[in-house]
């Protein structure tokens, strides 16, 4: 009886394995280890929405072959992320990876990715550690700006808008983001001719910024540059507003243009300057060569809203664009990773978040970088006014007065 039962189980397993293999042969599988729960859930959710919507645009197939994203919840936990990459590459044998997004998750999965080196669309991670570790790999395609892209663009943009020679103070947090960004902020603001009058370290999750604000008040800077996490920027922005410090220009990175930051900061958002590759409500025409994939931004936003009942973010638009680039390469190359790499290298199309073209970064550290072009905008009366670059400008900068 036991022997029969074992035989039945073995048979069923063999059948299911064979069915799985047959399914894998008919389907192009893309591993998508994303932060679908835990502290980075907002990142992972946007990545999933972007990938899902891109696949929907391609009607779920390329050249008659079904495409499937194998979403795995890495729970915003580095160990779970490594386990997911191992499962996807070693057992499921996927040839393509999309995700994770948060820098810390990225860093964790690099050794596991090296085992099989599937084609990796890295739509996330701003730290240069990623660039140092995998930027030179031919199968790695980074579709998100590094931290230095922010400071490069912001310092150049501010110089052109308010002029150089201004006195600035940098506030940075004691985490990886703050510490890795600081040298780049120093370098690019100095190169742009700004005088760095002070640097203030703050603790991640601090409840009270009054001590540093008291010090900053005495330095009388013309601009304050912050390198802190989004949640800390809410508290900091509120406390700057409460303290009534007269700093004409308050400058951050991506956070200022995130709807959730704007809602949480309330009136304290007024005057803050940030940057992004996508600003909600901006105009961008459809791609000339692939309007079916990259329609005008307003059309795409409408489709997104209809599907998800929320407003899209930079991560949504970026994830959609990055996933679409992979699907376009699969469309041309078929299910052959080496050919897909070649096709990705050849791509040159306008996407929702800028040119979809992989080039080497200015540092030379990443051989395949896309979507590093950013726009500077200021929050004015609850709206994002684009200030830079001049060709997309929608208004003039306003200095804060308290």
């Amino acid at each position: 009886m036991k022997v029969k039962l074992r035989a039945c189980i073995a048979g069923a397993l063999a059948l299911s394995t064979a069915a799985g293999a047959a399914n894998a042969a008919d389907t192009i599988q893309i591993g998508a280890p994303l932060e679908l729960s835990g502290r980075f859930v907002a990142f992972g959710a946007a990545g999933k929405r972007g990938a899902e919507m891109a696949l929907e645009t391609f009607k779920g197939e390329v050249n008659g072959k079904k495409v499937e994203f194998l979403f795995r919840d890495i729970q915003s936990d580095p160990q779970a992320a490594v386990a997911s990459i191992n499962e996807l590459t070693e057992q499921t044998k996927v040839k393509y990876i999309f995700g994770p997004i948060a820098s810390v998750m990225f860093a964790a999965v690099i050794p596991a990715w090296r085992q099989q080196k599937p084609v990796w669309i890295g739509h996330g991670s701003v730290t240069t550690r990623t660039e140092e570790e995998v930027g030179g790999e031919r199968r790695f395609f980074h579709t998100y700006p590094y931290a230095y892209h922010y400071h490069q663009t912001m310092s150049a943009g501010l110089k052109s808008i308010i002029g150089s020679g201004k006195k600035i103070v940098i506030v940075y947090s004691d985490d990886a983001y703050g510490r890795t960004s600081l040298p780049f902020a120093r370098q690019f603001y100095k190169e742009a001719g700004f005088e760095i009058a002070g640097e203030e370290l703050v603790r991640q999750g601090a409840a009270d910024y009054n001590p540093i604000l008291t010090k900053i008040r005495r330095l009388r800077p013309e601009a304050l540059v912050t390198l802190v996490q989004t949640s800390d920027l809410v508290t900091l922005a509120k406390q700057i507003k409460i303290a009534g410090i007269n700093i004409p220009y308050l400058v951050d990175g991506l956070d200022v243009l995130l709807e959730e930051w704007q809602k949480a900061a309330g009136d304290a958002q007024e005057g803050w300057i940030g940057l992004s590759g996508y600003i909600h409500g901006m105009e961008r025409p459809a791609s000339k060569d692939r309007p079916d994939i990259f329609p005008s931004l307003s059309d795409w936003e409408k489709r997104f809203r209809d599907k998800y009942q929320v407003e899209p973010t930079y991560l949504d638009a970026g994830a959609y664009s990055a996933a679409s680039l992979l699907l376009m390469a699969l469309e041309k190359a078929g299910d052959d990773p080496d050919k897909v790499v070649e096709e990705l290298e050849k791509l040159n199309t306008e996407t929702l978040v800028g040119p979809g073209r992989f080039t080497k970064t200015s540092t030379g550290g990443t051989v395949h970088q896309a979507f590093e072009s950013l726009m500077i905008a200021q929050r004015q009366n609850g709206k994002s006014i684009i200030l830079y670059p001049p060709e997309v400008k929608t208004g003039e900068i306003k200095a804060r007065t308290e």
Binding site: S37, G38, R39, F40, V41, A42, A45, S173, D174, E199, E200, L201, V202, R203, G205, A206, A207, D208, Y209, N210, P211, I212, T214, K215, T230, S231, D232, V234, T235, K238, Q239, K241, I242, A243, G244, E260, W261, K263, A264, A265, G266, D267, A268
Partner: protein, 289 residues
């Protein structure tokens, strides 16, 4: 600057004391370290945030609502979950409350996503300016709530029958039972009050901090430190511990270069050194007034 430092220290101390009040009370009487205390604060903050966003109820008016809701939830939670672990080893109790915390945290993610929230009533960005110093109104109100709750808890512990009963249990549970005190009911009552205080704390914090489902653990760590500094189980110790920690952190932030980044580390080193000298904390006995 010294006057501003003292004001900032007092306001931060008030906030810290508020974080620790409920935790100190429940640990002092039930002897259970509630690792879900931070999540109770988080839920209180969400409650006040949604009441403000959906119905325009001011976070300050949400405080009594959160007290009632927190009391009910705490009572039920104790009666049906925590009570079963009263005689279990401490490790089991810690794992149980830690598990409850994880469930609450993930339930909050499912219900409200991980997006940042913060209530923004008109006074949250107002300040009282007095010559060279300024006092943020939102944090002044939090300080007032802390002072009021500490005073109410003190009065309850010293002037009411159940308060005195809970102190008796904290001193000697067996003797209290022999005197006819229904210890299980008092435990439930004290735990419910501690959750009510945590939920009210969350409501008070909803306009001065950023709310996410993950804020609980960070708050809990701070509350534990204050409890240890003040003396486990002492309400006045929690207040004193909170103010002392607030003063230490603020002083370091003001006078040490890059001090805001080091403030917490320096404060915890000071806490460590203090405990070497006085391991029972500032006021080191179990619950008393």
């Amino acid at each position: 600057m010294i006057l501003q430092l003292l004001i900032d220290s007092a306001l931060l101390g008030g906030l810290y004391a508020l974080l620790a009040l409920g935790l100190v009370l429940s640990f002092g009487v039930t002897n259970i370290l509630n690792f879900a205390h931070g999540e109770a604060i988080m839920l209180g903050a969400y409650g006040a945030f949604w009441a403000f966003t959906l119905w325009g109820i001011d976070p300050l008016l949400s405080i009594p609502i959160m007290l009632v809701v927190g009391f009910g939830a705490g009572f039920v939670c104790f009666r049906y979950v925590i009570e079963r672990s009263l005689d279990a080893p401490h490790l089991n109790q810690i794992l149980l409350t830690f598990g409850i915390g994880l469930i609450l945290q993930n339930a909050a993610v499912l219900a409200w996503t991980g997006d940042l929230r913060s209530a923004n009533p008109s006074y949250s960005m107002a300040a009282i300016n007095l010559a060279e110093v300024f006092i943020p109104v939102g944090r002044l109100l939090t300080f007032t709530v802390a002072a009021a709750l500490a005073a109410i808890l003190y009065m309850w512990l010293t002037r009411t029958e159940y308060g005195r009963a809970s102190r008796a249990i904290a001193q000697n549970e067996r003797a209290a039972k022999l005197m006819g005190i229904d210890t299980r009911f008092v435990y439930s009552l004290v735990f419910a009050i501690s959750i009510a205080v945590a939920a009210a704390t969350g409501a008070a914090l909803s306009s001065i901090t950023t709310i996410t489902p993950f804020i609980g653990f960070h708050l809990l760590v701070k509350a534990f430190a204050i409890m240890v500094l003040g003396g486990a189980g002492s309400i006045s110790g929690a207040v004193l511990g909170g103010v002392l920690l607030g003063l230490l952190e603020t002083t370091v932030a003001y006078y040490v270069p890059e001090g805001s980044g080091w403030a917490e580390g320096v404060a915890f080193v000071a806490l460590f050194l203090f405990l070497l000298i006085r391991p029972q904390g500032l006021i080191g006995t179990r619950v008393h007034g």
